[in-house]
């Protein structure tokens, strides 16, 4: 139960990691002037 829980957290965050990589490739900050 606990093992599944921790693994599922890793799994979801891995998805976010992949998503962020794709986003950063698609919309690199250096080409925009509206960043914070």
């Amino acid at each position: 139960m606990s093992g599944i829980g921790l693994l599922s957290v890793f799994g979801v965050l891995l998805l976010f990691y992949v998503m962020l990589h794709i986003l950063m490739k698609l919309f690199p900050g250096k080409n925009e002037n509206d960043s914070h």
Partner: protein, 372 residues
């Protein structure tokens, strides 16, 4: 005789309420929450108090915002509006530390269930149910609203001690984390330098991040939509740049009003009969276990990663993967400086710390999805 016992219990609850107020005022330990909780506990335990009961204002507040989870949800909107995900967006790799440092939640959950087995041997050891053990474990999220949200759903009878433990240990991070980190790392490891490159994150990424996180997490665990969606709504208000008034209101007025209501409403759950139980002591102890295992989980994960990485990470960064922001990042930075005055770990630690804020809420969501 019964009257004497009752007044003794009331006196103890006054002392507990007074201690929380003392910690808030003198030590500044999470004062925005501990002060109203402490006073709420005193209001609740005054014999014949009109603050509780069918028409008491604390009962009305509890029903209006805790029983139905509204207050934690509103707090999430406020917290989301306050979070700058920038340090994490620049270093998405930190997300893994945000996951590893949730280890304490699940280790404590197991500890809680194991304690239940010992109940037959020693009756003073509480037999926690799975939902109660999960609610106690979530103290390890180091994230007050997540603890309140999960325990409000799973174990409302334990809401008072769980909330007090969660906020107390969050403020005690500078005392809890360093000894665990020192025990698990060598001075050489603590001196590892990490390269840092500052670059701008596009507004498109900042706006898309909260939307996509909500959609992905919501599809995986629909029960988490309230939890994650409200946090990300707050963040979207902030990052969109077009609703500055709403963002500032969420960060200030909404956060302040709801924190006040949340605090005194939680204080109202600290009724002597329910609070003065052995289970409260166990919850306080297990909260400490959760924070210790969180820290250990993050550090050990970083050390394991170093076996495979060419550019080593400072294993202390793993400990910053808890949600207590910015306390944990500051602790790690300070420890790095102590070991080597030229070692600036702050930006990496902040990245891991922000990842911990995402990790803790995802852990809460996974617990809800797996156990509900």
């Amino acid at each position: 005789m019964q009257l004497v016992v009752d007044y003794w219990r009331v006196a103890v609850m006054f002392a507990i309420g007074g201690t929380l107020i003392y910690l808030a005022v003198k030590k500044e330990y999470e004062p925005t929450l501990l002060l109203p909780i402490g006073f709420g506990a005193i209001l609740t335990n005054i014999p014949g108090s009109s603050a509780i009961g069918e028409h008491g204002f604390l009962t009305i507040l509890y029903r209006a915002g805790i029983e139905n989870e509204l207050f934690p949800i509103l707090i999430f909107i406020a917290v989301g509006a306050m979070i700058d995900f920038g340090p994490l967006l620049r270093r998405p790799f930190m997300l893994f530390f945000g996951a590893a440092a949730q280890f304490g939640i699940f280790a404590t959950l197991m500890t809680g269930l194991y304690l239940g087995r010992l109940h037959g041997i020693a009756s003073f050891i509480p037999a926690f149910t799975l939902k109660q053990a999960a609610s106690i474990g979530i103290i390890g999220a180091a994230d007050g609203p997540t603890s309140i949200y999960v325990s409000g759903l799973f174990a409302p009878e334990l809401l008072g001690p769980i909330t007090v433990a969660a906020y107390s240990y969050m403020s005690l991070v500078p005392l809890v984390q360093p000894p665990v980190i020192r025990m698990l790392t060598t001075p050489e490891e603590r001196r590892i330098h990490m390269e840092y490159q500052e670059f701008r994150v596009s507004k498109t990424v900042r706006v898309l991040f909260p939307i996509l996180v909500t959609v992905i997490a919501g599809i995986i665990a629909p029960i988490s939509v309230g939890l994650i969606g409200s946090l990300m709504l707050g963040n979207l208000l902030r990052e969109s740049g077009v609703v500055d008034r709403l963002s500032k209101s969420a960060q200030n007025e909404l956060a302040n009003i709801v924190t006040l209501f949340l605090g005194i409403a939680i204080g109202s759950t600290m009724v002597a009969d329910r609070f003065l139980q052995p289970s409260t002591l166990f919850i306080i102890l297990m909260g400490l276990v959760a924070f210790i295992f969180d820290t250990a989980g993050g550090v050990i994960f970083a050390k394991v990663l170093n076996l495979f990485l060419k550019r080593k990470v400072n294993p202390m960064i793993g400990a910053a993967g808890i949600s207590a922001f910015p306390m944990s990042a500051r602790v790690i930075h300070k420890m790095g400086i102590e070991e080597d005055p030229t070692n600036y770990l702050l930006m990496h630690a902040v990245g891991a710390n922000v990842a911990g804020q995402v990790g803790s809420i995802i852990a809460g969501a996974m617990i809800l999805a797996l156990i509900h």
